[in-house]
């Protein structure tokens, strides 16, 4: 069998239903084989978007996303997508074409050492040098991408390999000497954790993306209720507990609610689950949760003790460990702590100044939430992302999809496409900034072409808003290179030019009706350009390098 056909057959065996990508000379054989397959290929208009879409697909479903690109520039275009997936532990398999083996190393036309380039941003990668290894490699790639701590895996396919004649003997099992993720937590450590929890007076659970990846939201919520303990999440952890739950304090960190940050700082026990204590979540590490002991549950042993000193480390799968842990916990009321936290919650709610004249970005998001609380929400990066995180209350896992670790502008739109392809019946909204949306705007063509009816809500401040906010607060309002002077530019017309639907909103009174109208449309992509208050800032804010309780806020 032609290796290219074997590749497609292997993908079918892996249960792949959708592939995002762009063909080219080096991968043309594989595309030829794909022509006869049931697998639906979505031709994106940029390879970066193909990987983001596969990533969004993976985050929405939990299944491994797949992207294709050709050699050279096609492959290098995938780099940002791969790095984004890597930082957020998303299972993605990227297959790239490569020049023929005999040409590798000769600087042949469209040759790039993509395996070398992506070494530090993939969980693992392969250059297939022997066609007899091809199927084993594909099997391994899917296994590695989706197990343990998930992540992207790249397979580089020299053109002559895809042409080779091979036997289709797809392996059933994977046996990797050096890769055996540990899932079951150490029983003694779990008991020790339970003891600490029972002794704690001010316990706080910090939940990260690992809870979502391990499908442990039910267990996490149950643990919170059993203790009881308040729950804060990282940006990636949104959805680990319904944010409408009385024990949820939303997300923690730079733009988390004050009550979330105060709770962490005052707690005497942090129960960290699938969270890696990034600087955006912890603030200045030396002042982080000074009174707290720390229990850290993570499937990746390297995360434990990397940033925060840990008293009880538990390596393994969050779901399995939490299930065990709950068995040792008895409910214990902690009245004083509860009153304290509820006091903060009441005193320091998330808020913004309402306005009848200018559209407040927070208001737009509140309205989206009101109208479509079950929508899958993706975000771009910047203020839009933080407002979305603050004002859209996530209530189920995989509902909120954002580039947390890498902070990739341009991620949200193609990620929304991926989510929509996975769940055509669901409303999928990309909450965007004008700057970010421009970074993958070409995907409007893909959406129109394939009838991917995503909604894009542009909170258009004609600024690189988040950078401008930093310049306002920390650089004496010296707005160096952050103004996107585009008054004349119309996203509505751009959308129409692509064959999508465009809408422009300038007044608060039009917000709700426009959203309603847009949400009624389910056969075409809709781009809504909300001309928002240009100088609105995201508050509260913990400046970079400050402690979590050193918060800047503004009177409302």
């Amino acid at each position: 069998m032609r290796a290219a056909d074997a590749i497609v057959k292997a993908l079918e065996k892996e249960g792949v239903k959708h592939i995002f990508g762009i063909p080219g000379g080096a991968i043309i054989e594989v595309y030829d084989a794909l022509f006869d397959s049931e697998i639906r290929h979505i031709l994106t208009r940029h390879e970066q978007a193909a990987v983001h879409a596969a990533d969004g697909y993976a985050r929405a479903t939990g299944k491994t996303g797949v992207a294709f690109a050709t050699s050279g520039p096609g492959a290098t275009n995938t780099v940002t997508g791969i790095a984004t997936a890597y930082m957020d532990s998303s299972p993605v398999v990227v297959m790239t074409g490569q020049v023929a083996r005999s040409l590798i190393g000769n600087d042949a036309f469209q040759e790039a050492d993509i395996a070398g380039i992506t070494m530090p941003i993939t969980k693992h990668n392969y250059l297939v040098t022997d066609e007899k290894q091809l199927l084993k490699i594909i099997k391994e790639a899917f296994h590695i991408a989706s197990t343990g701590r998930p992540g992207p895996v790249l397979i580089d396919l020299p053109k002559d390999v895809t042409l080779a004649d091979i036997e289709f003997d797809y392996p059933e099992k994977v046996d990797l000497m050096g890769y055996k993720p540990k899932y079951v937590g150490h029983p003694r450590q779990i008991k020790r954790a339970a003891e600490l929890i029972m002794q704690a007076e001010r316990p706080v659970i910090m939940a990260g993306g690992g809870v979502i990846l391990s499908n442990a939201t039910e267990e996490l919520t149950k643990l919170a209720e059993t203790i009881p303990a308040y729950v804060v999440t990282s940006l990636m952890g949104k959805g680990a507990i319904p944010e409408t739950h009385p024990l949820s304090l939303g997300f923690v960190g730079m733009h988390g609610a004050k009550y979330a940050n105060y709770a962490v700082q005052e707690s005497d026990l942090i129960i960290a689950v699938g969270i890696r204590f990034s600087d955006r979540s912890t603030g200045r590490l030396s002042s982080f949760a000074p009174y707290a002991k720390v229990i850290h549950i993570d499937v990746d042993p390297a995360e434990i003790g990397k940033n925060v000193r840990v008293d009880v480390p538990i390596v393994g799968d969050a779901k399995l460990i939490l299930r065990e842990l709950i068995r040792f916990i008895q409910y214990k009321q902690r009245k004083e702590w509860e009153e304290k936290v509820e006091g903060w919650r009441k005193a320091y709610p998330l808020r913004y100044r309402k306005d009848d004249e200018r559209v407040k970005p927070q208001y737009v998001i509140e309205k989206i939430y009101e109208l479509q609380p079950d929508a899958i929400v993706t975000t771009e990066v910047g203020q839009n992302q933080m407002w979305a995180a603050q004002y859209f209350k996530v209530h189920y896992p995989r509902q909120f999809i954002t580039s947390g670790g890498l902070g990739t502008m341009g991620f949200g739109f193609p990620a929304a496409m991926g989510a929509k392809v996975a769940f055509p019946e669901k409303t999928v909204v990309d909450i965007a900034g004008d700057g970010s949306f421009l970074m993958n705007i070409q995907e409007l063509a893909t959406c129109v072409d394939f009838g991917i009816a995503v909604k894009v809500v542009i909170l258009n401040n004609m600024f690189l808003g988040m950078v401008r906010q930093w310049q306002e607060l920390f650089y004496d309002e010296r707005y160096s290179a952050t103004c996107l002077r585009c008054k004349e530019m119309s996203f509505e017309k751009i959308a129409e030019g692509f064959g999508a639907i465009g809408m422009t909103v300038e007044r608060p009174s039009e917000v709700e009706d426009t959203l309603k109208e847009a949400f009624e449309i389910d056969d075409a992509p809709v781009i809504m350009d909300f001309r928002v208050d240009r100088l609105e800032n995201v508050y509260p804010m913990v400046p970079a390098g400050a402690a979590l309780n050193e918060i800047i806020d503004k009177e409302v």
Binding site: A115, G116, M119, P120, K123, H124, L127, T129, I144, L176, M177, G178, Y179, D300, P301, A302, G305, K306
Partner: protein, 162 residues
Amino acid sequence: MRHTIAVLVENKPGVLARVAGLFRRRGFNIESLAVGTTEREDLSRMTIVVSGDDFVLEQVMKQLNKLIEVIKVSDVSKNSVERELVLIKVAANPQNRGEIIEIASIFRGRIVDVARDSFVIEVTGDEDKINAFIDLMRQYGIKEVARTGKISMQRGSKALQV
């Protein structure tokens, strides 16, 4: 502080680049690195000397373990036999030849090449011994030094195996 770690890896192309890349990316310092095959042809063994405190050591070991092609990582800083081999080309003349041969023999070195005006001497030992020997050779004029980097093996019956 310096630590010596032994790393058992799959004998595949690219593994060395992966390990070296990891050290660079995470900001760990490699002082020496030696690679060779093992009792199994599908496995190689690296001996890496890193500098850093215990925290760095722990991170190095954990991050190495995450590489798919890394099979085992072990801290062999303590209770181990350590060896390094050096080849030194040293200038020699009729006046000092005897002296050099004598010093080499005290270090159990071997003269592996003799030319009219130089020797190549091979010495094996731990780092201190090799440093001492190199120091002693300086007075005669060292032309070239090549060191293998340290390899290390724990004493006793415990073995680094799959």
